[in-house]
Symmetry: C2
Subunit: 474 residues, 2 copies
Amino acid sequence: MDGIQLMDAPTRVSYDPAQHRGRTFHDVLPDFLAGRDDPRAYLERCLETIDLREPEVRAFVTTNVSAAREAADAARARYRAGVPLSPVDGMPIAVKDLYETADMPTQMGSPIFNGWRTNRDAASVHALRTGGAVVIAKAVTTEFGFYNPGPTTNPFARERTPGGSSSGSAAAVGAGMIPAAIGSQVIGSLIRPASFCGNHGFKPTLGALNRQGGHSGLSQATIGVHAASLEDIWATAYQIASVVGGDPGAPGLYGEAKLARGLRPERLIGLQKVGRSACSPDTQAQLEWALHALEESGVRIVTGRDDREVAELDEALLEARTISDAICGYELRWPLAHYREKYPDLLSDDISKRLDRWLTISPQEYRMMIDRRQQVRARFEALEAVSDGIVTLAATGAAPIGLSSTGDPILAVMSSLLGAPAVTLPVLSVEAMPLGLQLISFAHRDWRLLGMAMWVEQCLLHAAGRPYSREPKS
Amino acid sequence: MDGIQLMDAPTRVSYDPAQHRGRTFHDVLPDFLAGRDDPRAYLERCLETIDLREPEVRAFVTTNVSAAREAADAARARYRAGVPLSPVDGMPIAVKDLYETADMPTQMGSPIFNGWRTNRDAASVHALRTGGAVVIAKAVTTEFGFYNPGPTTNPFARERTPGGSSSGSAAAVGAGMIPAAIGSQVIGSLIRPASFCGNHGFKPTLGALNRQGGHSGLSQATIGVHAASLEDIWATAYQIASVVGGDPGAPGLYGEAKLARGLRPERLIGLQKVGRSACSPDTQAQLEWALHALEESGVRIVTGRDDREVAELDEALLEARTISDAICGYELRWPLAHYREKYPDLLSDDISKRLDRWLTISPQEYRMMIDRRQQVRARFEALEAVSDGIVTLAATGAAPIGLSSTGDPILAVMSSLLGAPAVTLPVLSVEAMPLGLQLISFAHRDWRLLGMAMWVEQCLLHAAGRPYSREPKS
């Protein structure tokens, strides 16, 4: 009744974007207010799905079911009294385990922090609880949010990666266990797993949501949201920004409380180079289909063939991974070198080997890289005058088979480098698995980006023969 | 033998800038290398002073003497072998208790964090230990680095404040208990206590030193150094930057490993408005004396009378406190509102009352304030073409009597707002107490600023009739 189509088997759930919607929250609010449904009942349905799916998906490190039930009961009382605190009141969420929670440990995917408790909520968690959200679990992350994966499996194929580093957040939403989860991205840690797990994933403008109380201080780190609907994404992001603002020094998230129901983009940049060689013909065909459908609906797709500045951006973005890796590598000397010295047996070989390389990056090279990043950003921002952003895939294909790698982030890293807002829509499919269509807009255009995403999603579902309504079900 | 003149009485030590030098470290290095002295012996001398002064000064929250002795012994072995790790090898330091230490709790001046351990070193602490520094203590801070003072007294007059929030760091260096300490500043938390306690205090360019693992995420927060000499300040700052760089995304500290021995400034801006009304005639006379002495030595002091853009800067800086308070207030909704909700009895009334006001600041007002800050920065930076920076007092007078307030930050807040490097020199005196002369330079000119400070200090000590040599003693 809340928009979920239950996965029909725990071991293999093939993905059809025209059928899958996941568990949404936004559409049940009228039922909550009308007394036909309530947050506790909603939570219990989530817990049923968790019981069914979690043994295989392994999205969670820690759960706190009793606290969640207590919070859901309090939310139920508020709806009954007609005074919900916010559009996320009663919404069950999970929090990527890089972000602190007062009632659960924060373990960062590392044995160094086994059972580590800080007795406080991260800014985002505080803001969501202030709005009545029901924090049910800490979600698996890779080791410190980098490469070494946790135990999570892809909710649509247990032999495939869920992506990383927001592995548990993406998988939990993809499996319909919860409607929304906090994730974060430095390279491709939110957009990529959202694509692999059939989520709507939103990486806001750099600094738009307060990431304090989270353990990633990297200059590209951005907290974001995985959800089964764009409305739930915006409600979550808006709630965080309303209570705790953005990162200190940043102007925070701009936009209205209510998401625009559909803003048709006029012109979108189509990239011809980045990630192209990594995509299979089937994957590429999905993108071509989407671009064609958008053009059919009047969106102009601008490529490097049409515009020299677009061609230069396309070329410049080929360096996004290299520049990002060097910047992050330099920034990681602390804490990782400290951890290696203090806990030599508890840091993975994978991180340790990368650290050896990162420690050779000089301050001069780092400065050159942040200058180059700034140049690419300026090049992109100049295109705001002539376009609404970029349309591309969110990943180079379906989630790869195997759990030892979290997949190629080449298409997700662009928005990290640009500090620009990005969203992925679970509207494509390859190998019977989800594939996200990604939209990237300009810094601080988050609200407009999600409004465009709403339009694009409706456009593509219509083109796919399933024009579904976003009206709440009765 | 290491440049210290021991305080002659624990209860009252009147201050004479021509006599006081504090405990320096830089000048003992030749003795260490020659085997005439060693880090363990140096540490023991520090411990003797601590035994003598700490019962009254109360600079430290936690000490770890056994770990310090072990680290000093290791440093001694390195000097004996002729292979010290860095210019801070063997240097005893204290760390402001907002910054994490693996071997001591991090309590932030708040009972909420009584005994709180994170089992890791902050970036700065890691970097200093990597260079062989001997971490001896955590130094008292006001509650979360804001207003509510700890128990520390001024080392030159126990009835007076040491200033805050880097109270313990400044007092410990002022009392000669240690040669250097980590402090930090958001409003006036380093420059002001350094002035009150007769320190050389250095607040670098915003972001120049990595402040991760510290609990102040505010957009003006800057980690810095208190020391008895400029050489020790630069050695400490340079060591931090070399190992862990600056804040993520910032280019970090620029400059050479060795401090310039004296760079004469050509033109310095003299302010005529900021703090003027708060200074007593005696205090003002100290500044006039210093400006006169500098002019006698060929430095041109430029004021608003000479230059319209300087007049406009002078006027704009009158707003530094207002803008900074609004920015910090908004940025403090997390964690302070979270702490108040979770630990209602453990947050001071002082913070709680301020928080009520801070919570009324809207995102729009915050954005307006960060724009205004940017405008003042741009106004100052435009003057780089025609000046070497600002010369002013570091505080509006001697440390005030009474321990309930940490004094007026109006002269220290300017560099925080500007994100500019600032240094205070203990070369003036009023009421037989220390008074700092402050130099502020332009962003990333830290090395040049300290070189100018070296020249200014020598110039003023010469003018005061005590031209002392900076050559190491034999």
